[in-house]
Symmetry: C2
Subunit: 199 residues, 2 copies
């Protein structure tokens, strides 16, 4: 075992500690996670998920930022943005009701992730009732975040939206390029550029 | 047993059939649902949930329409709209991470529901692993719907948003009052009124 091995173990330990916030992770489940997860670095602008992925991976972001977007008649709509210490892609996990595959996940900086494959999720769901509880709790949190995004963009003026985002996610203003932030906030880049220093 | 009893059983049967789309409901779980759920009718404009409810109920809508909205500095923001044969309120179910209680659910027509209490959900979650699978699948579906709302409102023009809503939820245009639909679509009532017949 060399020092890289320990670093790798440390990184996966972060994922397990993240899960421990929601459930008591059984030791057998920890073993599967340590054995079956791998880490990967995506260069800036690379896709973590595209509509071509039939069984998209779930990712735990160790370092970096990503955005979720949908392409529609030539228009790119950024529906969410996520920073490190978050799970992304879980909501793309195919369900029995079918999943319309129009979502992309793209790295906005060099982004280091832990890959949790579709196969691993299926295995954990079949072996551990705790995994169903974990995914239920994670989906609940992600739903709350989606509703916050639904709320912020329906605020009736651009300054109100910018103010709300500064209160809830101040890091977005230093780390996310203006054009994606403007799409996320439903305003023109010029409007965001003019107002962001005033709010 | 009178005929009302059977009608009541029939209504609860609709809820069980709704759940059966996602899991095989154990017969013991069915018995709890039939015994512990009740039906109720809310008059137009009444609240099914307000921030005063510490343990808000979950509702299955049998008949009618409801909207979810948030009050913020005197502004009412309609973040979602739901018609019959849907579960609402599940996403307000308190989780270990805490839930900011700023959401209202309001009847937009006379609305008949099945009430699924917080206590019943807790009981089913503790007794049946299937209940955790069911809530996970329902949350997944509700997340997809939240993302569709996030997508539609970020489309860059009012006609595009109206067109998308006509494609996905045509009933909204005949059943939802213009002012709520305008808030949901992030446009002024005048804009919606002018454009809705053209798209």
């Amino acid at each position: 075992m060399n020092s890289d091995f320990f670093k790798e173990e440390d990184r996966k330990g972060m994922l397990i500690r993240y899960f421990q916030q929601y459930i008591d992770v059984p030791s057998k489940m920890k073993t599967y996670i340590l054995e079956d997860c791998s880490t990967k670095t995506f260069n800036k602008h690379k896709f973590l998920v595209s509509p071509l992925d039939l069984f998209p991976n779930v990712y735990f972001i160790l370092k970096g930022t990503v955005r979720g977007f949908v392409r529609n008649n030539g228009e790119e709509v950024t529906t969410w943005i996520s920073l490190e210490k978050n799970i992304v892609g879980l909501t793309l996990y195919p369900s029995s009701t079918g999943c319309e595959k129009t979502q992309y996940i793209q790295a906005l900086e060099e982004t280091e992730v832990i890959i949790i494959t579709y196969a691993l999720i299926e295995k954990l769901l079949s072996l551990f009732p705790e995994m169903s509880v974990l995914t239920r709790k994670l989906l609940w949190v992600q739903y709350q975040e989606a509703e916050e995004r639904n709320f912020i963009i329906r605020l009736s003026s651009a300054p109100k939206r910018i103010k709300r985002l500064k209160d809830t996610n101040p890091d977005f203003f230093t780390r996310i390029p203006l054009k994606y932030l403007a799409s996320f906030l439903g305003m023109r880049i010029e409007t965001l550029s003019r107002l962001r220093s005033k709010s």
